[in-house]
Symmetry: C2
Subunit: 339 residues, 2 copies
DNA sequence: CTGTTAGCGCATTCAG
DNA sequence: CTGAATGCGCTAACAG
C-alpha cells in the first residue's frame, strides 16, 4: 500500500535535458508537441521523462506564457440539476481541449462572490462562463482588466456586451401554451417568474403571443408572476380557481414554480391540464407524468464552451448570441383523464 | 457597456512598490498579510494597489511557493445528484478557506481519466477528493509523487492508505430492512449492487444482519445483486414474485436500482412495501412518496474538505476513517395501503 | 533541426 | 520594521 503526502523535489526540465543529452529547449519542444525535433530526439527525451518521472510544472509554464489552461464556471448553486448538467457539458467540451474547469457557486459565498471572481482574475483564468445569478449582479471588472473572455448562459448580461447562449425561452413558452390551446382549452393560466428577469419576460411574452395568435382574450387574473424562491404559487392558483370562470389548464414557467404547484394541496393533476417549462428530475415517475418543455442544456453548455474556446484561441469577432431550441416532451399531465 | 477581451500589460508588484515608494518585498508583505509592515506603510501600499488596479499573479506566487491553492474533486459524473451535492458541500468549505475547486468527471473523459489526473499533478493541486469510480481504478501515482494529499469519499481506496469519509452503509441498510420487518413483513427482498463494490457488500450485509437479528431465515432467492447500470431489476423482481412464497416488501440498495424498480411494469407500489437506500430527487412527489434511507451528503463533503485542509496545513496524523450516520425518512412507500 | 539567452512576477533568504 | 539580491521552472525570441 502506498502512502499519500510525502514530498520530495521533483525533477525539472533541466534534469530531463541532462539525462537525454539535449538542451532544455528541446525538452520543452517535446513536452509541448512543438515542431522542431526529430523522431529520434523525441524518443530519447520521452524515455528520459518516464525514467525520471518528470511532470511539467504548470505554474512556471503559465507564468511564462500567460495562459492558465483554466476556465471557470460561475453559477448560483452548482448542485441544482440544471446547473450541474450545464457544468458537466462544459467540462466535457473543455477536457477534450486540455482545459480544466473551476466551479464557483455564488450562493455558497454570497458576500464573497465578488472575492471569488477576484481570485479567478488573480489566477488569470482564460475564460469565464457565467450563468447569471438571480440574486445579485457580480462585479466582473477584475477579470475584464486581465483580458479574460466571457460567455453568458441563459440570459445576456445587462452591462457587458459579450457572447451569449440560451434557450428559445419565448418559443418554448409559446409551444407549451399552444399545446394546451390545441387540446381545446381557452382558460389557460400562466404561473411564472417576475418580469425583472430576462427569462421571465421572454416566457410570459411567449404565453401571451400564443393566446393572441389563437384569438383568445388575455385575462390578467390568470397570470401570476412571483419570485419562485418564495411561497405563494399554490395560493395564487387557488385564487384563480375561485373566479367565476376558472382556468382548466396551466403553464408553469420554471421548475421551482412547477414543484411548488405540484406540492400544493390546492392543485389536482387529475382536474387541471398542465405543461411545465423545464423538465424536472424523474418527471416521468410523478403521480401524473409531467408534460414539459425541455431545454437542451447539454447543447447550451457545449456551445458556450465552444464559443469561449474560439476566443481563447484568438478568434476576434463581434459578440454572438446563440439560441438553442427547446422541445415539447408529451407525457400525461397535459390531458385530463376525464376529458 | 464594457467590452470583454482586451488585453494590456497588468501592473506588477514592482509597479506598486514604485508608486507607494516602498520596496517590492514590502508590497509582498502587505498583499500576503505577513507581519513586518507598519500600519502607515500598509495603507500607502493598499492605496497604490487600488490606484493601479493591481492583481496578484497567482502563477508567479505558486511557482515560488509551491502551493497552488487548488483542490480537485474527482468524480464519475458531476451532474449526478449525489455527486453534485457533494461538490457543492466541498466547494463551500474550501471557498471559506480561500481555495478554489477543480472538478474532474472521469465520465467526461472516459479514455483519458488518467490523463486528467496527470494534469492535476502538473498543476500541483494541494489536494484531491476522490469519489471512486465504479468503472475503473485510476492511477494516482502522478499526484502522490508531488506530495498531494488525498481523501476518499463513500468508499476507501483499495490501494492507497489515506483519509476516508463515508456513510454508515451497513447501518443504513440495516435500518431500512428493520423498518419493514417491524411493520410485520417476513418476506423482504433485497435488490442491490454487486459485492465487488465496497458499498454493495456493506449494504447487503446490513440487510442480512437485520434479518438474522429478528430470527428470519435468509432466502437467497430474495437477494438480487447486479450492476445497476444494466437493465434487469424489474425482471429479477418478477422472478421473485413467481415464487410460491413471494416477497411482500423490498429494499433497494441504491438509487439506480430504485428508479429501475419504480419504472418496471412488474412492480406495483400499491402492493409491495418499499424502502430505498438513497433519496431520489422529488421522492415526495412520486406516485407513492418514497420512504428512504438518506445519506448526509453535505456533512460527508464538508468533512472530507476539512480533513484535507488539515493535511494541507501540515497536520501529520495517521489515516482517518469518518463514518457519517444515515437517516430513515418515512414517507408512504413502506406501508401498503390495503394493510 | 537544435541550442543560448533572457526574464515572466513573485517569495525566500539574509542583511540592514 | 524594511530592503536587496536571488532563483522558482519554464517558454519566447532569437541564433546557429
Amino acid at each position: 500500500m502506498q502512502s499519500a503526502g510525502k514530498r520530495r523535489t521533483l525533477p525539472t526540465m533541466i534534469d530531463v535535458a541532462e539525462r537525454a543529452g539535449v538542451s532544455l529547449k528541446t525538452v520543452s519542444r517535446v513536452v509541448n508537441d512543438e515542431p522542431g525535433a526529430s523522431t529520434h530526439t523525441r524518443d530519447k527525451v520521452r524515455a528520459a521523462i518516464t525514467e525520471l518521472g518528470y511532470q511539467r510544472n504548470t505554474a512556471a509554464s503559465e507564468l511564462r506564457s500567460g495562459r492558465s489552461g483554466l476556465v471557470a464556471l460561475v453559477v448560483e448553486d452548482a448542485s441544482e440539476p440544471y446547473q450541474s448538467e450545464l457544468g458537466m457539458a462544459i467540462e466535457t467540451e473543455l477536457s477534450n481541449n486540455g482545459i480544466l474547469l473551476l466551479t464557483v457557486s455564488t450562493e455558497a459565498n454570497r458576500d464573497r462572490a465578488n472575492l471569488a471572481v477576484a481570485a479567478l482574475a488573480e489566477r488569470r483564468v482564460d475564460g469565464l462562463i457565467i450563468f447569471p445569478s438571480i440574486q445579485h449582479e457580480l462585479d466582473f471588472s477584475p477579470v475584464l482588466d486581465s483580458g479574460t473572455h466571457l460567455v453568458f448562459v441563459d440570459r445576456p448580461s445587462p452591462e457587458i456586451s459579450t457572447d451569449h447562449v440560451r434557450s428559445s425561452h419565448r418559443q418554448g413558452a409559446y409551444d407549451a401554451t399552444a399545446r394546451l390551446l390545441d387540446l381545446g382549452h381557452t382558460r389557460v393560466a400562466y404561473l411564472g417568474d417576475l418580469m425583472t428577469l430576462f427569462t421571465g419576460t421572454e416566457r410570459v411574452s411567449g404565453y401571451k403571443q400564443a393566446m393572441s395568435d389563437r384569438g383568445i382574450q388575455i385575462d390578467t387574473r390568470l397570470i401570476h408572476l412571483q419570485n419562485p424562491d418564495l411561497d405563494g404559487v399554490g395560493e395564487a392558483f387557488l385564487a384563480m380557481c375561485q373566479l367565476t370562470d376558472p382556468p382548466t389548464a396551466v403553464v408553469t414557467g420554471n421548475s421551482l414554480t412547477t414543484i411548488q404547484l405540484l406540492r400544493s394541496p390546492h392543485f389536482d393533476s387529475a382536474r387541471t391540464a398542465h405543461v411545465a417549462f423545464d423538465d424536472i428530475p424523474l418527471g416521468d415517475l410523478l403521480r401524473v407524468p409531467l408534460t414539459v418543455i425541455r431545454q437542451d442544456i447539454t447543447t447550451i453548455g457545449s456551445t458556450a464552451a465552444r464559443l469561449l474556446l474560439e476566443r481563447i484561441r484568438g478568434n476576434v469577432v463581434p459578440p454572438r448570441t446563440i439560441i438553442v431550441p427547446t422541445q415539447l416532451v408529451v407525457r400525461e399531465s397535459d390531458t385530463i383523464p376525464g376529458a
